[in-house]
């Protein structure tokens, strides 16, 4: 296999920390966009968070939404331009905390958008605070003694929650810590875009991603954190795939 830069990626260095999952996630999305031949139709919405600068790395049209509002911005884009391929790229604080209302309602409307949800169990950009997806016992700068369910509630299982909604036709959780998992993640990203192109409904892929700096571990140790601590809480796999869903009008 020849390694080359996808046309959908810019030839620049990223600002991401060593061991961070964003770079892999960005690249997988770009590979799939290239393979589908949709680069010139893509409109992407970057989040508030570490990935806010994604527009510097992607070679297609990108905007940034206010914190949590990406699904609503994407809704406005897609409703007015059904021929475009619209996706949001959101972190766990953005999607599951401040943007919980927007993601649930966009999913429930069956918006013809795809959502790539990076779960790294903390707020990376602001310095490692507790997120809705922070695991029980996980120490963060705002849960220094470890997340306690009685005080801060439980890790939020976004994919399982959204899969309950009739507007969702594809929901899967993948991880980015081993080559095998990366290959599975790419398949899921492809399936999400396929659902949008087929016009069947809302699609979302959760990607368990490392945040070594936020977690206070080495990149090599972060791989083990995903394997041993995150996956037991956030089981991998396709949670929902409605293959025969009737196309809905844009």
């Amino acid at each position: 296999m020849n390694y080359k830069r996808p046309e959908s990626m810019q030839l620049v260095s990223t600002h991401y920390c060593a061991g961070c999952g964003h770079g892999v996630a960005h690249r997988l999305i770009c590979e799939v966009i290239d393979e589908l031949g949709i680069r010139e139709r893509v409109l992407a919405v970057a989040p508030v968070g570490c990935a806010v600068l994604a527009y510097d790395y992607w070679n297609f049209d990108v905007t940034e939404a206010a914190h949590g509002r990406a699904p609503a911005v994407a809704t406005g884009m897609k409703r007015c331009n059904p021929e475009n391929i619209v996706f949001t790229y959101q972190g766990d604080g953005d999607l599951a905390a401040i943007g919980a209302g927007e993601i649930v309602n966009a999913a429930n409307r069956g918006e013809l958008i795809s959502v790539f949800f990076i779960n790294n169990a903390n707020y990376g950009m602001t310095g490692g605070q507790m997120a809705p997806t922070t695991m029980l016992g996980q120490a963060t700068t705002t849960s220094p003694s470890g997340r306690d369910a009685r005080r801060e509630g439980w890790p939020m299982k976004v994919i399982e929650m959204l899969a309950q909604l009739d507007g969702v036709v594809y929901a899967a959780r993948c991880a980015l810590h081993t080559p095998k998992h990366v290959r599975e993640a790419k398949k899921a990203i492809r399936a999400a875009f396929d659902a949008q192109i087929a016009g069947t409904g809302f699609s979302i892929v959760e990607l368990l991603a490392a945040c070594p700096v936020g977690w206070g571990v080495k990149p090599t140790e972060a791989v083990q954190v995903i394997e041993q601590q995150m996956i037991p809480v956030y089981p991998l796999g396709t949670v929902k795939q409605v293959a025969s869903a009737a196309p809905v009008a844009p």
């Binding site: 010139e40 070679n59 049209d61 990108v62 905007t63 609503a72 884009m77 409703r79």
Partner: protein, 365 residues
Amino acid sequence: MPRQHNTGVTKLMAGNHALAEGAVQAGCDAYFGYPITPQNEVPEYMAQRMAEEGRVFLQSESELAAISMVMGAALTGKRVMTSSSSPGISLMQEGISYLCGCELPAVLANVVRGGPGLGNIAAAQSDYFQSVKGGGHGDYRLLVIAPASVQEMFDFVFWAFDLAFKYRNPALILTDGLIGQMMEPVTFREPTWPRATPVSFDCSGWALTGARGRPPRSIKSLYLGDGVLEAHNAKLQAKYARAMAEEVRYEAVETDDADVVFVAYGIAARVCRETVARLRAQGVKAGVLRPLTLWPFPSAWLAEHAPRFAHIMVVELSCGQMIEDVQLAVGNRCPVNFYGRTGGGVMTCQELTTVALERFSTKAV
């Protein structure tokens, strides 16, 4: 566009319906909104009419989402609109700040109700500060226009789209629950005044439409580099300076020989106009300055003419907000009075006439 819209037909309509029909006829491509009294007639009317026209209507899950959907549509160069009332507009301030930072055109309408908090659902003008001084975070301005009749609710939407696209900035129609609910005759037309020269709605040079045959585009309000945000803000301010030079609109009624001049906008200006007639019948030479643009404000007119007047009286359905802009413009050239009602109270012509006579009859005549 252009479409047939029964031009020349006159109908009896509620202000909110006229606002919505004006938007449809002005070529609005998409409407996003959330229910709130007293503006529910706007989304209800749009739900019907936008479907008829094959355009986009969507009821959002919140005002936060509505303004973000507006941003999404605006990013792609569409003519997009939302409406709400005071508490809902408060929620939209986040997105409004982003629209300004990203330089995106959009039309917003605030059918103002009483506040603070949940307040009540009666007419008020207590969102003036929020509308013209910012409201959200950062150094930005909205182009704010204030209709005073149902016909103007229709006409001003065309003007608002002009302003929004001329400046790539949101334009706000600031009205109230009275004008929104009351019924008056409306003639469907392509309005001229107070619009200026025709505006181009061509967004092909900047909109996000897909990077087909061109380099990719990003539209954003984040500028982290040293001095980059300051330069961006300077660019915005230059745009606002141009708007201040070119867009001020007002209506000066019987001010040429006036001793007492009311300054009022929207529904309060209508009360003032009738009060002027009553005062003149009693020998008080009164007039009205009605700003049509609340931002930019007709400060230059006030500064120039204030020395001729014995008294200026600002009349608002608030505890006194626009008066601050009047005082800034007038300085010590003329005493500035205030009369306001709030919480749903609306002054009658009789009430305002009595107040004016008490304050000014001996001194002014």
